[in-house]
């Protein structure tokens, strides 16, 4: 057993800043969503192209309608905790929003501030990773694609050894490339497309996304995918030596066995 210095300070700081920023962006984003709890696959609002609507058809009843399929979701969606001691017609419950009651103005303040935090963090990390050369080790290359299945097979115990790879295995590369270089920029761009000021500057962006309401739908969907990554990531950390993993992301030091040549 020995300790290796796995994460640089900048990586660790940006990682935890992301955690905070992501939590704030999701909960303030749900606050903003609550002000108009519909998502349309269109430019202007169009009930005929409604993909998701969360509503309260009657007092005490909450529903979520996805592609015209309606589910009763009382207590969770539609008719929920209002943060002021009772329940009311709120799409997402107040305990998951920032602030913890209906407040679009402050929800927007939180969201638009932490959007800058997350974006700046991403940029600083990217420049540093690029300069250190670790970016090269992370990005999925065409030559990695044939190794994706063998790696998955190894995880499924269908194969005794993983395919040869560098610091990151092909599946890790695929996940990081997708989340950091496709999904995160996508969520940023779909968010920017919601801004009438940016729309006036770069209308093709909104058009490519299918219009403003469609951009709102994409932004929401991107958030769900990021939440999915967060869930898988947390599960993996929790099941693969959580204290060692947490220590390495806090102090930088990761305990590994002498024989192990491939880092997780």
């Amino acid at each position: 057993m020995r300790l290796i210095y796995r994460y640089a300070l900048l990586t660790r700081v940006s990682h935890w800043l992301w955690v905070v920023a992501f939590a704030v962006l999701v909960s303030s984003g749900l606050q903003i969503f609550n002000a108009s709890p519909n998502l349309d696959a269109s430019d202007k609002s169009d009930p005929a192209r409604r993909v998701l609507t969360i509503s309260s058809p009657a007092d005490g009843v909450g529903t979520a309608t996805i592609f015209r399929h309606t589910f009763v979701t009382t207590g969770w969606l539609g008719w929920t905790d209002d943060g002021l001691g009772s329940r009311g017609p709120h799409a997402f419950p107040a305990w998951i929003t920032i602030p913890g009651f209906q407040d679009l103005a402050d929800g927007r303040r939180w969201h638009l501030f932490f959007a800058w935090v997350a974006g700046a963090c991403w940029l600083i990390w990217l420049i540093s990773a690029w300069r250190k050369g670790s970016l090269r080790e992370m990005l999925l290359r065409p030559s990695d694609v044939p190794k994706l299945w063998p790696m998955q097979a190894y995880y499924l115990k269908l194969r005794k050894t993983p395919p040869p790879h560098g610091t990151y295995n092909p599946l890790q590369k695929a996940a990081y490339t997708f989340v950091l270089f496709l999904l995160a920029p996508f969520v940023v761009l779909t968010g920017l497309a919601l801004s009438p000021g940016i729309d006036a500057l770069a209308n093709p962006l909104t058009v490519v996304l299918g219009g403003r309401q469609f951009a709102r739908l994409w932004h929401f969907a991107g958030m769900l995918l990021l939440l999915g990554f967060f869930g898988v990531h947390t599960f993996q950390v929790a099941t693969q030596g959580v204290f060692n993993q947490m220590r390495s992301m806090i102090t930088g030091w990761y305990r590994t066995s002498e024989a192990e040549t491939v880092e997780a």
Partner: protein, 246 residues
């Protein structure tokens, strides 16, 4: 397994704690001030550049969504409706060389602009309307703002039911944007009372609350710090951004 339970509980507690922590921090003046700093950054980076997209006739919402305060119900406004707005006079004053009023007929005699633009509400919904009227810039040219003029304030006839009149403001750059319009017609008909008759503002490069309805008076000022809550608009006084381009 105990360890996993501990982790699951920790994550749950962290997420559940997010709202209450955020709510507590939200009430802190220093935190709030920090959050507000994003507004000037957004204003500087995005600003009011470019032109809002203009749509085709067939994109128009025939029943343009009505939002905001109910239409004014005071005797002055009722009199305007009763006279089909022929007795309406839009006063333009403040830091200008030639303060004056405009009747609807005088506005109609000025060069007209029609724009089919999308209205994006801060709540999240969007609607498309065909707006016609006079460029705000042309009205400003007619009154000649003085050297110290920085903002154009729109005093409206509607109120929040507690006596607070709606108002909005633009800086000179935003006010002279080619699509900043004092609209008198919507979808090829005279603007109806529900949509802000006889004159409403249209600012398609910013969120809907900037597009003030029922404009009664336009005041050119050097600062809006002494008007109502001092933040440059009714919703701004409630905590919304003055720069509503995002």
């Amino acid at each position: 397994m105990k360890r996993r339970l501990f982790i699951a509980t920790s994550i749950g507690a962290a997420l559940g704690g997010c709202g209450p922590i955020g709510t507590a921090l939200n009430g802190n003046a220093a935190v709030h001030g920090l959050l507000e700093s994003a507004e000037s950054l957004n204003h500087a980076v995005i600003g009011t550049r470019g032109l809002a997209r203009e749509y085709r006739e067939r994109d128009v919402d025939k029943d343009f969504r009505v939002n905001g305060f109910p239409m004014p119900s005071d005797s002055r406004y009722m009199s305007l409706i009763a006279h089909d707005f022929t007795n309406y006079r839009m006063a333009v004053d403040g830091a200008v060389e030639r303060r004056r009023t405009f009747s609807l007929a005088e506005l109609a005699a000025m060069p007209q602009q029609a724009q089919i633009t999308r209205h994006d509400c801060v709540e999240g919904w969007s609607a498309i309307g065909k707006w016609q009227g006079v460029r705000l810039g042309d009205v400003l040219d007619a009154v000649v703002p003085r050297a110290g003029a920085r903002y154009v304030v729109f005093h409206c006839m509607d109120n929040d039911g507690q006596g607070n009149l709606y108002y909005e403001s633009l800086d000179m750059h935003q006010a002279r944007h080619p699509q900043a319009l004092l609209a008198t017609r919507l979808n090829d008909a005279p603007l109806d009372p529900e949509h802000g008759a006889p004159v409403r503002l249209r600012v398609p490069t910013q969120l809907g609350y900037k597009s003030a309805k029922w404009v009664g008076r336009i005041e050119v000022v050097g600062s809006f710090a002494n008007i109502a809550g001092g933040h440059g608009g009714y919703w701004e006084d409630q905590g919304y951004e003055w720069y509503a381009g995002i």
